[in-house]
Amino acid sequence: MSHGGGGDGACEPNMTPLLDLVLQLLMFFIVTINFTTAEDAGDVELPDSQTARPLPSAGAKDPIFLNLLYDEKTQKHEIVLPLQLDSSGRALPSMQQPDARRYMKKLYADLARDPSVVNSEVKNPVIIRAHKAAQYSEVFQVLQSCSDAGFRQLKVRAMIQ
């Protein structure tokens, strides 16, 4: 064979195709990286739905994600707001219904204090991701907490079938 070097025995592997491939892969991962993955706290298994619409590419402004977790073993519900921070900048602990209710009220009041908010009408949508095995009463309490706090836009997430 002609390639593979001369008589000195030094065999240099051809790096160019390898590098090409690696850089292609790298490019792909850089392009597809999605930093806003913090919205899915824990593993919320969403229910299936035939009528859920795909997410709009440009999401609504500053949505509030609210996850309703359900543990099948302990049959306990937990509420997690993954994108919200407490006053000292730490992630919020998981909450039960009464705390969540208070928190949503406080959150609405905080958002309404923002100078850009007209008529103290907060436009931020609340996106509810409830576990498929969650009980209706819990989901309903979450919805009611949100609407009583004053949020006008509620959305629920589901898996498109």
Partner: protein, 184 residues
Amino acid sequence: MSKRKKPEEPETQIVLPVTPMLDMTFQLMFFFLTTFNPPSLKEGQMDLSLPSKSEAAAKDPSQVSPTSEAHKEEIEDKSTVTISLRGQKDKENRGKISYITINTDNATDEEIKATEEDRERILGEKLKTVKPAEVVDKEGRKKVPTVRMAAESDVRWSQVMRIMDVCYKTGYQVSFIKPTDAGG
């Protein structure tokens, strides 16, 4: 003479050091691989009509802020169709729906008892027949009729979602009301 090679100058050969670059590239690749989380294409969302305000307001009148008057139109709940989902009582099927009742005229409850698929089909047909004629509001937007939906406390969310699908398919919006077996 210019044609003659100077013997003291060796032939320059530029060798690109590939190894550090490869090292770095692999590091980067590893980072992106581990953080790779494809945007879930299967996840979709549905708009909700707000849970009926009248109840919440009646429960705690002090919470009704004067500003909520601005949303009067939204709050106004003219829907006459109410669907209740009754849960199975036995331990095995707990969380599933046993039957559905539909109330279209604020008077009589109609029970839909059948298998899961049949129930949904019957409900869909029923909703189609009672659907009001299309109303266009002042701003030219179509007004979507609303179904009020309640379930028993322990009915699973996925079961509720199935019925929600039926409502959306027939062109209704869903507004949730408090669980049928909730006290108070």
